[in-house]
């Protein structure tokens, strides 16, 4: 057992209001620079949608992440020794300006400098790259709120899991729903970006697992841009280096939450330490398709287990970090309650950002009827055409998970590599907590029914209360449990990261030389 500590994240999707405060906070701090205009280290997408860059999830196009070969070993899909060499001067899988967007501003000066005329002047959009007027055709959040749904939402790669009828149902006004998916770098345990870099410029910090690109060592190969299946490594066209989310490590080291999390209006974000077994990374990353989520979650260790603590201490993990791991909100969501899942585990990078999947609005069921049914309806059921029945009288009050607005198949394609059971579990727990709270605050549900749903989902009244607290009431210090920085152990302060080739570059991480 090789116990290491990782600062991990949980995003609670039911709470995200899609305000983009996170994106703006990040942009203002880190990427408001020439060459970085198009970089959105934090972005928020509408789902269903094609996201940013367009269709990033489709690895047929971008060749990101790892693929499992016959013998059970895994290879980078589009980078790595042989493939990297073959495409060294031209990489056909790199996203282009069209996949991102041409950054633009407005000719504001025209408002005061336009010659006199009969009409008020206007500030035309101009390209931030060429300075010339442009026709704005794409942006970093172009399909916001289902904008352009015929071109974007309907082409969401995750819809491939659905039948044409199921897809169509998702876009009927009466049952349509969407949710927001905020994304940052996942600071993966098996990062494609690190493994792909021919210069060894990318490394995973020993003390907290933050994945960083050494700007002095980067040689603009851009292999990381292809290899990251989440497209969270961006090439700066001005400096000629690749850049990515650094989890605001200078803030973390000073005890502050990353800017995106600190500013999050919906308070959807949680940050805390997870302990994991580095010996099992390779096995987890190369687990067979159906088992990858389980294997990933199995890597995460119980911070209260004596053996885990001893092994962590042997590895030089400071006690203060262990303490943070024991108080970690992410440990609660991911392991203790089993309510958070990684995004696209099938990319096999073992992301350390987990999502509580969206339960979405409580909902009545909508069914197509023969019109005649209207007569037989419960008086509180409403109809708006003769063929569609809007039934608010479901026995369960909130319907069932299977009736949810988003087909389970769709959510499974996002959060569990297609495993519907795995994604239904957290949703059932969310529902159980709602039922429990309804019983407690409104009291129109039978106590026996509450105990039954809690038992079904493996929650107790106490844990339901704790889930409710962390979801709805938690304060800063509950949501962000930041371990004190131990800069004395930091690799890059002591030596040049490019020299420690063994710990990055092609292949798996090697054990760094630190601790006892």
């Amino acid at each position: 057992m090789d116990v290491r500590a990782q600062i991990s994240m949980v995003f609670h999707l039911d709470k995200c209001i899609g305000c983009h405060t996170c994106s703006v906070a990040c942009k203002n701090i880190w990427t408001d620079r020439k060459g970085a205009e198009y970089q959105w280290w934090n972005n928020v997408e509408t789902k269903p949608g094609t996201g940013y860059p367009g269709k990033w999830e489709d690895q047929e196009i971008y060749k990101g992440g790892w693929e499992r070969e016959g013998a059970g070993s895994i290879q980078l899909k589009g980078a790595g020794k042989a493939k990297g060499l073959a495409n060294i001067f031209h990489n056909p899988h790199l996203p282009s300006v069209e996949d991102y967007y041409e950054p633009f501003t407005y000719n504001y000066l025209n408002l005061i400098e336009a010659p006199p005329g009969d009409d008020q002047p206007t500030a035309r959009p101009v390209s931030l790259i060429t300075g010339k007027p442009i026709d704005v055709k794409m942006g970093p959040n172009w399909d916001d709120d289902l904008g352009g749904s015929p071109d974007y939402a309907r082409n969401d790669p995750n819809l491939e899991a659905l039948t044409p009828a199921e897809r169509e149902a998702m876009f009927q006004l009466e049952r349509m729903a969407f949710f927001y998916l905020p994304r940052i770098c996942n600071h993966c345990l098996n990062p494609g970006c690190v493994a792909s870099c021919p210069s060894g410029a990318i490394y995973k910090r020993g003390e907290d697992g933050i994945v960083l690109i050494n700007q002095k060592v980067c040689r603009a190969w851009r292999m990381c841009v292809t290899a990251c299946p989440y497209k969270k490594s961006y090439y700066n066209w001005h400096s000629g280096k690749s850049e990515k989310c650094l989890l605001c490590y200078p803030r973390l080291e000073a005890g502050h939450a990353p800017a995106c999390m600190h500013s999050c209006v919906g308070r959807i974000r949680y940050l805390g330490v997870l302990l994991y077994d580095a010996d099992r990374i390779q096995r987890a990353a190369s687990a067979p398709d159906g088992e990858i989520t389980r294997a990933h979650l199995d890597l995460i260790l119980d911070p209260f287990d004596d053996q885990v603590i001893a092994a962590a201490q042997r590895n030089g993990v400071p006690d203060s970090t262990l303490k943070s791991a024991q108080n970690s909100p992410t440990y609660k969501f991911v392991k203790q309650w089993g309510m958070a899942l990684p995004l696209h585990p099938e990319f096999r990078t073992l992301p350390m950002l987990f999502y509580v999947p969206p339960l979405l609005p409580v909902m009545a069921s909508v069914t197509q009827t023969d019109g005649a049914q209207k007569e037989r309806l419960n008086p509180i059921a409403k109809t708006w055409t003769d063929d569609w029945l809007y039934d608010t009288s479901t026995e369960e009050l909130w319907g069932t998970i299977e009736q949810a607005r988003f087909p389970l198949k769709y959510l499974a394609s996002l959060f569990s590599g297609g495993d519907e059971k795995a994604v239904a579990q957290p949703l059932k727990k969310l529902m159980a907590v709602r039922i429990y709270r309804r019983w407690k605050t409104v009291g129109d549900i039978d106590e026996s029914r509450v105990d039954e749903v809690l038992k079904d989902t493996g929650l107790s009244r106490d844990s339901a209360e704790a889930v409710y607290y962390l979801t709805a009431l938690a304060k800063f210090q509950d949501r962000f449990v930041i371990p004190p920085a131990h800069r004395e152990q930091a690799l890059e302060m002591l030596e040049f990261t490019g020299d420690t080739r063994g710990s990055q570059g092609f292949g798996f991480l090697e054990r760094p030389e630190r601790g006892a």
Partner: protein
């Protein structure tokens, strides 16, 4: 901001026990004014939107070519407070570079409008030129322009109105008075700017939507 906390509505009333500025000093849910009783609006009440003819926003406007009359709603924008921050570069980048006119998939198809095409939205009162955002979340027969776009940011000249610079969404909306707006002098039913006065029904109007023939800035 006071003590690191942002101002929120009613903080004074709750924390300093300042009575609400109403007849009773409490919050009112039920309005016992004669006119409200007469119109059946003493409690929050659903009333169907009047028909376009009753509003009379399209009496003079000619419909020509591929154009369609739609019910236009102008709800609060997602990221600007009315027109304040509307021209914010960050947020324009994070949306569509403008405040578009949202159309349903079905209506857009009928009008030959594709997502991001330029459209004109006009009626007897005025015209707004914008890009189309075609979306499955918009019901047929309805279009939405979030309020308030500024014509100072990338708005081309209107082709249906003689190649002149069009206005924002306020150019095609107007205030519709309801009789109960006219009551007053009774407790909180007294005119005070932004507190008691004609309200949101100007956000429900009728317009013609048409693809723009030429884009001239």
């Amino acid at each position: 901001m006071t003590d690191g906390r942002a101002y929120a509505a009613y903080t004074y009333n709750v924390e300093r026990l300042v009575p609400w500025r109403t007849l009773t000093g409490r919050q009112h849910f039920y309005l016992d004014h004669e006119l409200y009783l007469a119109y059946g609006e003493y409690l929050p009440t659903y009333k169907p939107s009047p028909r376009p003819e009753a509003y009379g926003d399209l009496r003079e406007t000619l419909k020509s070519g591929e154009a369609m009359a739609l019910n236009c709603l102008t709800p609060h924008g997602k990221w600007h407070i009315h027109s304040t921050y509307m021209e914010n570069h960050r947020m324009l980048t994070l949306s569509r570079g403008c405040e578009p006119c949202w159309l349903s998939e079905a209506d857009a198809a009928k009008l030959g409008i594709q997502d991001n095409d330029w459209v004109e939205v006009y009626n007897d009162h005025g015209v707004y030129c914008a890009r189309a955002a075609v979306s499955s979340r918009i019901p047929r027969g309805v279009c939405i322009v979030y309020h308030v776009p500024e014509r100072t940011v990338g708005i081309p000249k209107s082709q249906v109105r003689g190649n002149r610079r069009a206005g924002g969404h306020n150019s095609f909306t107007r205030i519709h008075l309801k009789p109960n707006y006219l009551c007053g002098g009774y407790g909180q039913f007294s005119y005070h700017f932004n507190y008691w006065g004609p309200i949101a029904p100007q956000r429900d109007t009728h317009v013609i939507v048409k693809k723009m023939t030429k884009v001239i800035f």
